[in-house]
Symmetry: C2
Subunit: 286 residues, 2 copies
Protein backbone atom coordinates (compact mmCIF):
# COMPACT_ATOMS: atom_id res chain seq x y z
CA UNK A 1 0.00 0.00 0.00
CA UNK A 2 1.56 3.23 -1.18
CA UNK A 3 -0.40 5.96 0.55
CA UNK A 4 -0.53 9.73 0.52
CA UNK A 5 -0.64 12.35 3.20
CA UNK A 6 -4.32 13.13 2.90
CA UNK A 7 -5.58 9.60 3.48
CA UNK A 8 -7.42 9.53 6.80
CA UNK A 9 -6.71 7.11 9.61
CA UNK A 10 -10.24 5.73 9.22
CA UNK A 11 -9.30 4.54 5.76
CA UNK A 12 -5.81 3.37 6.71
CA UNK A 13 -7.27 1.26 9.49
CA UNK A 14 -9.22 -0.73 6.88
CA UNK A 15 -5.97 -2.01 5.40
CA UNK A 16 -5.13 -5.61 6.33
CA UNK A 17 -2.56 -5.91 9.07
CA UNK A 18 0.05 -7.80 7.04
CA UNK A 19 0.18 -5.27 4.20
CA UNK A 20 3.42 -3.39 3.65
CA UNK A 21 2.67 0.28 4.26
CA UNK A 22 4.76 2.80 2.36
CA UNK A 23 4.16 6.48 3.03
CA UNK A 24 4.77 8.50 -0.12
CA UNK A 25 3.11 11.73 0.94
CA UNK A 26 4.21 15.19 0.10
CA UNK A 27 4.04 18.54 1.73
CA UNK A 28 4.22 21.76 -0.20
CA UNK A 29 7.89 22.57 -0.46
CA UNK A 30 8.94 19.35 1.27
CA UNK A 31 8.62 16.20 -0.76
CA UNK A 32 9.13 12.95 1.07
CA UNK A 33 9.09 11.23 -2.31
CA UNK A 34 9.32 12.87 -5.68
CA UNK A 35 6.81 11.80 -8.28
CA UNK A 36 9.61 10.00 -10.13
CA UNK A 37 10.44 8.02 -7.01
CA UNK A 38 6.79 7.03 -6.65
CA UNK A 39 6.80 5.84 -10.25
CA UNK A 40 9.89 3.76 -9.60
CA UNK A 41 8.39 2.27 -6.45
CA UNK A 42 5.20 1.32 -8.28
CA UNK A 43 7.17 -0.22 -11.09
CA UNK A 44 9.52 -2.09 -8.74
CA UNK A 45 6.67 -3.59 -6.71
CA UNK A 46 4.80 -4.47 -9.89
CA UNK A 47 7.87 -6.14 -11.36
CA UNK A 48 8.21 -8.14 -8.14
CA UNK A 49 4.71 -9.48 -8.66
CA UNK A 50 3.10 -7.61 -5.80
CA UNK A 51 -0.53 -6.59 -5.69
CA UNK A 52 -0.33 -2.86 -5.16
CA UNK A 53 -2.89 -0.49 -3.70
CA UNK A 54 -2.02 3.10 -4.58
CA UNK A 55 -4.08 4.93 -2.01
CA UNK A 56 -4.75 8.63 -2.51
CA UNK A 57 -7.03 11.19 -0.98
CA UNK A 58 -9.72 12.54 -3.28
CA UNK A 59 -9.94 11.39 -6.87
CA UNK A 60 -6.74 10.05 -8.41
CA UNK A 61 -7.51 11.54 -11.83
CA UNK A 62 -8.39 15.05 -10.62
CA UNK A 63 -5.16 16.79 -9.62
CA UNK A 64 -4.08 13.46 -8.14
CA UNK A 65 -1.40 12.63 -10.72
CA UNK A 66 -3.00 9.24 -11.22
CA UNK A 67 -2.73 9.76 -14.95
CA UNK A 68 1.03 10.10 -14.71
CA UNK A 69 1.31 6.90 -12.72
CA UNK A 70 -0.90 5.06 -15.21
CA UNK A 71 1.19 6.42 -18.05
CA UNK A 72 4.46 5.33 -16.42
CA UNK A 73 3.19 1.82 -15.75
CA UNK A 74 1.89 1.47 -19.28
CA UNK A 75 5.33 2.34 -20.61
CA UNK A 76 7.32 0.29 -18.12
CA UNK A 77 5.07 -2.54 -16.94
CA UNK A 78 2.65 -2.93 -19.85
CA UNK A 79 1.37 -6.32 -18.69
CA UNK A 80 0.22 -5.08 -15.32
CA UNK A 81 -3.52 -4.80 -14.94
CA UNK A 82 -4.56 -1.48 -13.44
CA UNK A 83 -7.99 -0.60 -12.14
CA UNK A 84 -8.79 2.97 -11.14
CA UNK A 85 -11.34 3.37 -8.38
CA UNK A 86 -12.69 6.91 -8.44
CA UNK A 87 -12.93 8.90 -5.24
CA UNK A 88 -14.66 11.97 -3.92
CA UNK A 89 -12.60 14.87 -5.15
CA UNK A 90 -12.15 17.79 -2.77
CA UNK A 91 -14.54 20.01 -4.70
CA UNK A 92 -17.37 17.50 -4.20
CA UNK A 93 -16.48 16.66 -0.60
CA UNK A 94 -16.19 20.25 0.51
CA UNK A 95 -19.17 21.33 -1.58
CA UNK A 96 -21.34 18.72 0.11
CA UNK A 97 -20.01 19.52 3.55
CA UNK A 98 -20.74 23.22 3.17
CA UNK A 99 -23.97 22.79 1.22
CA UNK A 100 -22.54 24.65 -1.77
CA UNK A 101 -23.93 23.24 -5.00
CA UNK A 102 -21.19 23.33 -7.62
CA UNK A 103 -23.86 23.85 -10.27
CA UNK A 104 -27.26 25.35 -9.66
CA UNK A 105 -30.02 26.20 -12.07
CA UNK A 106 -29.94 29.85 -13.01
CA UNK A 107 -26.85 30.57 -10.90
CA UNK A 108 -24.04 28.31 -12.06
CA UNK A 109 -24.36 26.45 -15.34
CA UNK A 110 -20.92 24.90 -15.05
CA UNK A 111 -18.09 24.23 -12.62
CA UNK A 112 -14.41 24.51 -13.32
CA UNK A 113 -11.74 22.76 -11.27
CA UNK A 114 -8.26 24.19 -11.49
CA UNK A 115 -5.06 24.26 -9.56
CA UNK A 116 -3.34 27.24 -8.07
CA UNK A 117 0.12 26.07 -8.85
CA UNK A 118 1.95 24.12 -11.50
CA UNK A 119 3.44 20.90 -10.26
CA UNK A 120 7.15 20.25 -10.06
CA UNK A 121 8.70 20.48 -13.50
CA UNK A 122 5.40 21.05 -15.25
CA UNK A 123 5.58 22.38 -18.76
CA UNK A 124 3.19 22.34 -21.62
CA UNK A 125 3.81 19.59 -24.14
CA UNK A 126 1.37 21.09 -26.58
CA UNK A 127 2.22 23.91 -28.87
CA UNK A 128 -1.31 25.02 -29.52
CA UNK A 129 -2.02 26.99 -26.41
CA UNK A 130 -2.29 30.70 -26.95
CA UNK A 131 -2.03 31.52 -23.28
CA UNK A 132 0.97 30.66 -21.20
CA UNK A 133 0.64 27.36 -19.37
CA UNK A 134 -0.37 29.08 -16.17
CA UNK A 135 -3.52 27.81 -14.51
CA UNK A 136 -4.30 31.19 -13.04
CA UNK A 137 -4.19 32.76 -16.48
CA UNK A 138 -6.48 30.03 -17.72
CA UNK A 139 -8.88 30.70 -14.90
CA UNK A 140 -9.02 34.30 -15.89
CA UNK A 141 -9.56 33.73 -19.58
CA UNK A 142 -12.30 31.33 -18.58
CA UNK A 143 -13.84 33.55 -15.96
CA UNK A 144 -17.55 34.01 -16.18
CA UNK A 145 -19.89 34.75 -13.35
CA UNK A 146 -22.12 31.75 -14.05
CA UNK A 147 -19.35 29.24 -13.46
CA UNK A 148 -18.33 28.04 -10.03
CA UNK A 149 -14.54 28.13 -9.77
CA UNK A 150 -12.87 25.62 -7.46
CA UNK A 151 -9.14 26.07 -6.97
CA UNK A 152 -7.03 23.25 -5.54
CA UNK A 153 -3.86 24.25 -3.71
CA UNK A 154 -4.59 27.87 -4.49
CA UNK A 155 -3.42 29.60 -1.34
CA UNK A 156 -0.09 30.75 -2.76
CA UNK A 157 -1.54 32.26 -5.89
CA UNK A 158 -4.72 33.60 -4.31
CA UNK A 159 -3.64 37.27 -4.38
CA UNK A 160 -2.86 37.05 -8.07
CA UNK A 161 -6.02 35.08 -8.84
CA UNK A 162 -8.12 37.67 -7.04
CA UNK A 163 -6.47 40.59 -8.80
CA UNK A 164 -6.70 39.03 -12.24
CA UNK A 165 -10.32 37.96 -11.87
CA UNK A 166 -11.31 41.49 -10.94
CA UNK A 167 -9.19 43.02 -13.72
CA UNK A 168 -10.99 40.74 -16.15
CA UNK A 169 -14.45 41.84 -15.15
CA UNK A 170 -15.32 39.74 -12.12
CA UNK A 171 -17.26 41.82 -9.57
CA UNK A 172 -14.96 42.63 -6.67
CA UNK A 173 -17.64 41.45 -4.28
CA UNK A 174 -18.06 38.02 -5.88
CA UNK A 175 -18.67 35.61 -2.98
CA UNK A 176 -15.74 33.37 -2.11
CA UNK A 177 -14.64 30.95 0.58
CA UNK A 178 -11.31 29.42 1.53
CA UNK A 179 -11.55 26.04 3.29
CA UNK A 180 -8.55 24.71 5.20
CA UNK A 181 -8.45 20.96 5.89
CA UNK A 182 -11.93 20.54 4.46
CA UNK A 183 -14.16 17.68 5.67
CA UNK A 184 -11.99 17.07 8.74
CA UNK A 185 -12.93 18.02 12.27
CA UNK A 186 -10.22 20.67 12.04
CA UNK A 187 -11.85 22.39 9.11
CA UNK A 188 -11.58 26.18 9.04
CA UNK A 189 -13.60 28.30 6.65
CA UNK A 190 -13.16 31.94 5.76
CA UNK A 191 -16.00 33.56 3.84
CA UNK A 192 -15.44 36.86 2.10
CA UNK A 193 -15.53 38.54 -1.29
CA UNK A 194 -12.96 37.64 -3.92
CA UNK A 195 -11.50 41.11 -3.38
CA UNK A 196 -10.88 40.62 0.33
CA UNK A 197 -10.22 36.87 0.44
CA UNK A 198 -6.43 37.17 0.03
CA UNK A 199 -6.23 39.55 3.02
CA UNK A 200 -8.57 37.31 4.99
CA UNK A 201 -6.58 34.15 4.27
CA UNK A 202 -3.41 35.88 5.40
CA UNK A 203 -5.00 37.36 8.52
CA UNK A 204 -6.43 33.97 9.51
CA UNK A 205 -3.09 32.30 8.73
CA UNK A 206 -4.66 29.59 6.61
CA UNK A 207 -2.26 26.81 5.65
CA UNK A 208 -2.22 24.01 3.09
CA UNK A 209 -4.36 22.09 2.20
CA UNK A 210 -6.79 24.88 1.44
CA UNK A 211 -9.46 24.80 -1.23
CA UNK A 212 -10.99 27.93 -2.74
CA UNK A 213 -14.53 28.20 -4.07
CA UNK A 214 -15.51 31.36 -5.93
CA UNK A 215 -18.95 32.05 -7.30
CA UNK A 216 -22.54 32.95 -6.58
CA UNK A 217 -23.27 29.40 -5.42
CA UNK A 218 -21.20 30.09 -2.28
CA UNK A 219 -24.10 32.19 -0.99
CA UNK A 220 -26.39 29.14 -1.10
CA UNK A 221 -24.49 27.53 1.77
CA UNK A 222 -26.40 27.56 5.07
CA UNK A 223 -23.06 28.62 6.53
CA UNK A 224 -22.85 31.75 4.36
CA UNK A 225 -22.67 34.39 7.07
CA UNK A 226 -23.98 37.37 5.15
CA UNK A 227 -27.36 38.08 3.63
CA UNK A 228 -28.08 36.05 0.51
CA UNK A 229 -26.55 37.78 -2.46
CA UNK A 230 -27.57 35.82 -5.53
CA UNK A 231 -30.34 38.30 -6.17
CA UNK A 232 -30.35 41.05 -8.73
CA UNK A 233 -28.93 43.76 -6.49
CA UNK A 234 -25.85 41.64 -5.94
CA UNK A 235 -23.32 44.00 -7.45
CA UNK A 236 -23.96 46.78 -4.95
CA UNK A 237 -23.51 44.56 -1.88
CA UNK A 238 -20.88 45.25 0.72
CA UNK A 239 -19.93 42.59 3.26
CA UNK A 240 -19.26 43.74 6.80
CA UNK A 241 -17.10 42.55 8.42
CA UNK A 242 -14.88 42.00 5.41
CA UNK A 243 -14.50 38.35 6.25
CA UNK A 244 -15.82 35.81 8.74
CA UNK A 245 -13.92 32.80 9.99
CA UNK A 246 -15.67 29.60 11.11
CA UNK A 247 -14.16 26.49 12.66
CA UNK A 248 -15.09 22.84 12.88
CA UNK A 249 -16.87 20.46 10.58
CA UNK A 250 -20.56 21.18 10.03
CA UNK A 251 -21.11 17.51 9.09
CA UNK A 252 -23.90 15.95 11.09
CA UNK A 253 -24.71 19.16 12.88
CA UNK A 254 -28.36 20.09 13.09
CA UNK A 255 -29.80 23.37 11.97
CA UNK A 256 -29.29 25.11 15.29
CA UNK A 257 -25.70 23.93 15.43
CA UNK A 258 -25.10 25.40 12.04
CA UNK A 259 -26.23 28.76 13.33
CA UNK A 260 -23.98 28.39 16.34
CA UNK A 261 -20.92 27.67 14.19
CA UNK A 262 -21.01 31.29 13.20
CA UNK A 263 -20.12 32.36 16.73
CA UNK A 264 -18.20 29.53 18.33
CA UNK A 265 -14.52 28.75 18.20
CA UNK A 266 -13.87 25.06 18.41
CA UNK A 267 -11.66 23.44 21.00
CA UNK A 268 -8.43 22.80 19.11
CA UNK A 269 -7.77 19.67 21.16
CA UNK A 270 -10.60 17.96 19.27
CA UNK A 271 -8.49 18.31 16.16
CA UNK A 272 -5.48 16.31 17.16
CA UNK A 273 -6.57 12.70 16.74
CA UNK A 274 -7.26 12.93 13.04
CA UNK A 275 -3.75 14.01 12.26
CA UNK A 276 -1.64 11.48 14.07
CA UNK A 277 -0.79 8.18 12.47
CA UNK A 278 -1.11 4.85 14.22
CA UNK A 279 2.15 3.14 14.86
CA UNK A 280 1.59 0.49 12.21
CA UNK A 281 1.53 3.10 9.48
CA UNK A 282 5.25 3.66 9.45
CA UNK A 283 7.24 4.81 6.48
CA UNK A 284 8.87 1.60 5.39
CA UNK A 285 12.35 2.50 4.26
CA UNK A 286 13.01 1.69 0.63
Amino acid sequence: VLYDRLVSNEILNMVREDATMVYVGKRAGFHTRTQDEIHELLSAFASAGATILRLKGGDPLVFGRGGEELDFLRDNNPNVQVEVVPGITAAAGVGSELGIPLTHRGIATSVRLLTGHLREGATSTTNMADAASDPVDFAVTAADVETTLVVYMGLGTLPRLSQKLIENGFPANMPAVAIERGTTTCERRVFSSIEHLPEAAAACELVSPTLLIVGLTVTLSPLWPYAATHSEDFSSRVYEPKWIEQRGSPRGADVDDWKIWLDVDMDESRCSSRHTFREIHVDTAF
Copy 2:
Protein backbone atom coordinates in the same frame (compact mmCIF):
# COMPACT_ATOMS: atom_id res chain seq x y z
CA VAL B 1 -36.58 6.63 -0.34
CA LEU B 2 -37.07 8.94 -3.30
CA TYR B 3 -34.88 7.55 -6.02
CA ASP B 4 -33.87 8.51 -9.53
CA ARG B 5 -33.60 6.63 -12.78
CA LEU B 6 -29.85 6.24 -12.76
CA VAL B 7 -29.59 4.50 -9.40
CA SER B 8 -28.44 0.93 -10.00
CA ASN B 9 -30.18 -2.15 -8.71
CA GLU B 10 -27.07 -2.98 -6.67
CA ILE B 11 -27.63 0.19 -4.67
CA LEU B 12 -31.40 -0.16 -4.48
CA ASN B 13 -31.01 -3.66 -3.09
CA MET B 14 -29.17 -2.20 -0.10
CA VAL B 15 -32.31 -0.35 0.98
CA ARG B 16 -34.14 -1.94 3.89
CA GLU B 17 -37.16 -3.98 2.90
CA ASP B 18 -39.72 -1.93 4.81
CA ALA B 19 -38.76 1.40 3.29
CA THR B 20 -41.29 3.16 1.11
CA MET B 21 -39.81 3.35 -2.37
CA VAL B 22 -40.88 6.26 -4.53
CA TYR B 23 -39.56 6.44 -8.06
CA VAL B 24 -39.11 10.05 -9.13
CA GLY B 25 -36.93 9.50 -12.18
CA LYS B 26 -37.04 11.47 -15.34
CA ARG B 27 -36.34 10.72 -18.94
CA ALA B 28 -35.40 13.41 -21.40
CA GLY B 29 -38.67 14.77 -22.71
CA PHE B 30 -40.73 12.55 -20.42
CA HIS B 31 -40.82 13.56 -16.78
CA THR B 32 -42.42 11.12 -14.40
CA ARG B 33 -42.17 13.85 -11.78
CA THR B 34 -41.42 17.48 -12.33
CA GLN B 35 -38.81 19.02 -10.11
CA ASP B 36 -41.58 20.97 -8.37
CA GLU B 37 -43.38 17.73 -7.60
CA ILE B 38 -40.21 16.27 -6.14
CA HIS B 39 -39.86 19.34 -3.93
CA GLU B 40 -43.43 18.94 -2.75
CA LEU B 41 -42.90 15.25 -2.02
CA LEU B 42 -39.75 15.97 -0.01
CA SER B 43 -41.50 18.66 1.92
CA ALA B 44 -44.60 16.55 2.54
CA PHE B 45 -42.61 13.59 3.85
CA ALA B 46 -40.45 15.90 5.95
CA SER B 47 -43.51 17.57 7.43
CA ALA B 48 -44.90 14.14 8.27
CA GLY B 49 -41.78 13.45 10.32
CA ALA B 50 -40.31 10.86 7.97
CA THR B 51 -36.61 10.16 7.61
CA ILE B 52 -36.01 10.66 3.91
CA LEU B 53 -33.26 9.30 1.72
CA ARG B 54 -33.11 11.25 -1.52
CA LEU B 55 -31.15 8.82 -3.63
CA LYS B 56 -29.54 10.08 -6.83
CA GLY B 57 -27.03 8.76 -9.29
CA GLY B 58 -23.71 10.60 -9.40
CA ASP B 59 -23.14 13.64 -7.21
CA PRO B 60 -26.25 15.50 -6.05
CA LEU B 61 -24.56 18.90 -6.29
CA VAL B 62 -23.09 18.47 -9.78
CA PHE B 63 -25.95 18.72 -12.29
CA GLY B 64 -28.03 16.74 -9.81
CA ARG B 65 -30.35 19.58 -8.71
CA GLY B 66 -29.54 18.80 -5.11
CA GLY B 67 -29.00 22.51 -4.52
CA GLU B 68 -32.54 23.26 -5.58
CA GLU B 69 -33.93 20.63 -3.24
CA LEU B 70 -31.82 21.96 -0.36
CA ASP B 71 -33.00 25.47 -1.14
CA PHE B 72 -36.65 24.44 -1.20
CA LEU B 73 -36.41 22.61 2.11
CA ARG B 74 -34.60 25.52 3.72
CA ASP B 75 -37.47 27.80 2.71
CA ASN B 76 -40.30 25.41 3.53
CA ASN B 77 -39.03 23.07 6.23
CA PRO B 78 -36.30 25.13 7.90
CA ASN B 79 -36.09 22.85 10.93
CA VAL B 80 -35.29 19.74 8.96
CA GLN B 81 -31.70 18.57 9.24
CA VAL B 82 -30.17 17.78 5.87
CA GLU B 83 -26.93 15.97 5.27
CA VAL B 84 -25.49 15.76 1.77
CA VAL B 85 -23.45 12.66 1.01
CA PRO B 86 -21.31 13.31 -2.05
CA GLY B 87 -21.17 10.75 -4.83
CA ILE B 88 -19.03 9.90 -7.81
CA THR B 89 -20.10 12.28 -10.51
CA ALA B 90 -20.26 10.90 -14.04
CA ALA B 91 -17.09 12.72 -15.12
CA ALA B 92 -15.08 10.94 -12.41
CA GLY B 93 -16.77 7.56 -12.87
CA VAL B 94 -16.38 7.50 -16.60
CA GLY B 95 -12.91 9.03 -16.48
CA SER B 96 -11.76 6.26 -14.13
CA GLU B 97 -13.43 3.54 -16.17
CA LEU B 98 -11.80 4.67 -19.38
CA GLY B 99 -8.47 5.64 -17.82
CA ILE B 100 -8.88 9.25 -18.92
CA PRO B 101 -7.30 11.59 -16.38
CA LEU B 102 -9.43 14.72 -16.17
CA THR B 103 -6.29 16.70 -15.39
CA HIS B 104 -2.79 15.71 -16.38
CA ARG B 105 0.47 17.52 -15.96
CA GLY B 106 1.43 19.38 -19.10
CA ILE B 107 -1.71 18.29 -20.95
CA ALA B 108 -4.73 19.48 -18.99
CA THR B 109 -4.29 22.00 -16.21
CA SER B 110 -8.01 22.15 -15.45
CA VAL B 111 -11.28 20.38 -16.06
CA ARG B 112 -14.61 21.97 -16.76
CA LEU B 113 -17.94 20.24 -16.21
CA LEU B 114 -20.88 21.64 -18.10
CA THR B 115 -24.27 20.60 -19.30
CA GLY B 116 -25.47 20.39 -22.87
CA HIS B 117 -28.90 21.68 -22.14
CA LEU B 118 -30.62 24.06 -19.81
CA ARG B 119 -33.09 22.43 -17.46
CA GLU B 120 -36.80 23.01 -17.56
CA GLY B 121 -37.61 26.66 -17.03
CA ALA B 122 -34.01 27.65 -16.48
CA THR B 123 -33.24 31.31 -16.72
CA SER B 124 -30.46 33.42 -15.38
CA THR B 125 -31.24 35.24 -12.18
CA THR B 126 -28.10 37.30 -12.41
CA ASN B 127 -27.84 40.38 -14.53
CA MET B 128 -24.07 40.41 -14.72
CA ALA B 129 -23.46 37.79 -17.36
CA ASP B 130 -22.18 39.16 -20.62
CA ALA B 131 -22.98 36.01 -22.55
CA ALA B 132 -26.43 34.60 -22.87
CA SER B 133 -27.25 31.98 -20.27
CA ASP B 134 -26.41 29.17 -22.66
CA PRO B 135 -23.99 26.53 -21.42
CA VAL B 136 -22.71 25.84 -24.90
CA ASP B 137 -21.82 29.49 -25.35
CA PHE B 138 -20.06 29.41 -22.02
CA ALA B 139 -18.13 26.35 -23.08
CA VAL B 140 -16.95 28.19 -26.10
CA THR B 141 -15.92 31.37 -24.37
CA ALA B 142 -14.05 29.17 -21.93
CA ALA B 143 -12.53 26.88 -24.50
CA ASP B 144 -8.83 26.33 -24.24
CA VAL B 145 -6.92 23.32 -25.38
CA GLU B 146 -5.40 22.67 -21.96
CA THR B 147 -8.76 22.13 -20.28
CA THR B 148 -10.63 18.85 -20.36
CA LEU B 149 -14.26 19.54 -21.20
CA VAL B 150 -16.86 17.14 -19.83
CA VAL B 151 -20.40 17.67 -21.06
CA TYR B 152 -23.33 16.11 -19.24
CA MET B 153 -26.45 15.39 -21.30
CA GLY B 154 -24.76 16.90 -24.32
CA LEU B 155 -26.03 14.67 -27.09
CA GLY B 156 -28.68 17.08 -28.31
CA THR B 157 -26.38 20.06 -28.54
CA LEU B 158 -23.30 18.15 -29.71
CA PRO B 159 -23.45 19.42 -33.32
CA ARG B 160 -23.58 23.01 -32.13
CA LEU B 161 -20.90 22.48 -29.50
CA SER B 162 -18.60 20.96 -32.09
CA GLN B 163 -19.17 23.73 -34.60
CA LYS B 164 -18.71 26.50 -32.05
CA LEU B 165 -15.57 25.03 -30.52
CA ILE B 166 -13.95 24.81 -33.94
CA GLU B 167 -15.11 28.31 -34.91
CA ASN B 168 -13.51 29.59 -31.74
CA GLY B 169 -10.12 28.10 -32.44
CA PHE B 170 -10.32 24.52 -31.23
CA PRO B 171 -8.43 22.20 -33.58
CA ALA B 172 -10.96 20.23 -35.62
CA ASN B 173 -9.08 17.06 -34.76
CA MET B 174 -9.23 17.57 -30.99
CA PRO B 175 -9.75 14.10 -29.51
CA ALA B 176 -13.22 13.39 -28.19
CA VAL B 177 -15.32 10.53 -26.94
CA ALA B 178 -19.03 10.03 -26.37
CA ILE B 179 -19.92 7.47 -23.70
CA GLU B 180 -23.44 6.06 -23.57
CA ARG B 181 -24.56 4.48 -20.27
CA GLY B 182 -21.08 4.89 -18.85
CA THR B 183 -19.83 2.50 -16.12
CA THR B 184 -22.60 -0.02 -16.86
CA THR B 185 -22.10 -3.33 -18.64
CA CYS B 186 -24.02 -1.79 -21.53
CA GLU B 187 -21.55 1.03 -21.98
CA ARG B 188 -20.88 2.11 -25.55
CA ARG B 189 -18.01 4.42 -26.45
CA VAL B 190 -17.41 6.28 -29.67
CA PHE B 191 -13.97 7.82 -30.09
CA SER B 192 -13.41 10.42 -32.77
CA SER B 193 -12.33 14.02 -33.30
CA ILE B 194 -14.54 16.86 -32.13
CA GLU B 195 -15.19 17.59 -35.80
CA HIS B 196 -16.57 14.13 -36.58
CA LEU B 197 -18.11 13.21 -33.22
CA PRO B 198 -21.60 14.58 -34.06
CA GLU B 199 -21.72 12.45 -37.22
CA ALA B 200 -20.39 9.47 -35.26
CA ALA B 201 -22.93 9.82 -32.46
CA ALA B 202 -25.73 9.96 -35.00
CA ALA B 203 -24.41 7.04 -37.03
CA CYS B 204 -24.03 4.90 -33.90
CA GLU B 205 -27.47 5.99 -32.71
CA LEU B 206 -26.26 6.92 -29.25
CA VAL B 207 -29.01 7.67 -26.77
CA SER B 208 -29.27 9.35 -23.38
CA PRO B 209 -27.54 9.21 -20.95
CA THR B 210 -24.42 10.03 -22.91
CA LEU B 211 -21.41 11.89 -21.55
CA LEU B 212 -18.94 13.75 -23.76
CA ILE B 213 -15.26 14.22 -22.98
CA VAL B 214 -13.24 16.53 -25.20
CA GLY B 215 -9.54 17.18 -24.83
CA LEU B 216 -6.04 15.87 -25.24
CA THR B 217 -6.40 13.71 -22.14
CA VAL B 218 -8.76 11.44 -24.09
CA THR B 219 -5.72 10.07 -25.95
CA LEU B 220 -4.25 8.85 -22.65
CA SER B 221 -6.94 6.20 -22.34
CA PRO B 222 -5.70 2.66 -23.01
CA LEU B 223 -8.91 2.36 -25.03
CA TRP B 224 -7.99 5.24 -27.35
CA PRO B 225 -8.00 3.41 -30.67
CA TYR B 226 -5.67 5.65 -32.64
CA ALA B 227 -2.02 6.45 -32.27
CA ALA B 228 -1.28 8.66 -29.27
CA THR B 229 -1.81 12.26 -30.28
CA HIS B 230 -0.78 14.38 -27.36
CA SER B 231 2.59 14.96 -28.98
CA GLU B 232 3.73 18.05 -30.77
CA ASP B 233 2.63 17.00 -34.22
CA PHE B 234 -0.92 16.67 -32.96
CA SER B 235 -2.49 19.30 -35.17
CA SER B 236 -1.69 17.51 -38.41
CA ARG B 237 -3.18 14.18 -37.34
CA VAL B 238 -6.01 12.55 -39.25
CA TYR B 239 -7.97 9.70 -37.71
CA GLU B 240 -8.94 6.83 -40.01
CA PRO B 241 -11.61 5.56 -39.76
CA LYS B 242 -13.34 8.76 -38.69
CA TRP B 243 -14.68 7.11 -35.57
CA ILE B 244 -14.48 3.82 -33.73
CA GLU B 245 -17.24 2.34 -31.61
CA GLN B 246 -16.53 0.06 -28.65
CA ARG B 247 -19.00 -1.83 -26.47
CA GLY B 248 -19.02 -3.18 -22.96
CA SER B 249 -17.47 -2.05 -19.71
CA PRO B 250 -13.68 -2.23 -19.54
CA ARG B 251 -13.88 -2.43 -15.73
CA GLY B 252 -12.01 -5.39 -14.36
CA ALA B 253 -10.81 -6.44 -17.76
CA ASP B 254 -7.17 -7.37 -18.04
CA VAL B 255 -4.77 -5.83 -20.48
CA ASP B 256 -5.49 -8.32 -23.25
CA ASP B 257 -9.20 -7.83 -22.81
CA TRP B 258 -8.74 -4.14 -23.29
CA LYS B 259 -7.10 -4.78 -26.62
CA ILE B 260 -9.89 -7.14 -27.58
CA TRP B 261 -12.57 -4.54 -26.82
CA LEU B 262 -11.43 -2.76 -29.91
CA ASP B 263 -12.67 -5.59 -32.12
CA VAL B 264 -15.47 -7.32 -30.28
CA ASP B 265 -19.17 -6.55 -30.17
CA MET B 266 -20.70 -7.51 -26.89
CA ASP B 267 -23.62 -9.83 -26.53
CA GLU B 268 -26.55 -7.48 -25.92
CA SER B 269 -28.24 -10.04 -23.68
CA ARG B 270 -25.59 -9.37 -21.05
CA CYS B 271 -26.96 -5.85 -20.83
CA SER B 272 -30.50 -6.60 -19.78
CA SER B 273 -30.24 -7.39 -16.09
CA ARG B 274 -28.86 -4.03 -15.05
CA HIS B 275 -31.82 -2.19 -16.47
CA THR B 276 -34.77 -4.04 -15.03
CA PHE B 277 -36.08 -3.15 -11.62
CA ARG B 278 -36.92 -5.69 -8.97
CA GLU B 279 -40.55 -5.89 -8.18
CA ILE B 280 -40.18 -4.23 -4.81
CA HIS B 281 -39.01 -1.01 -6.44
CA VAL B 282 -42.42 0.05 -7.60
CA ASP B 283 -43.52 3.59 -8.14
CA THR B 284 -45.62 4.14 -5.06
CA ALA B 285 -48.57 6.26 -6.14
CA PHE B 286 -48.72 9.58 -4.35
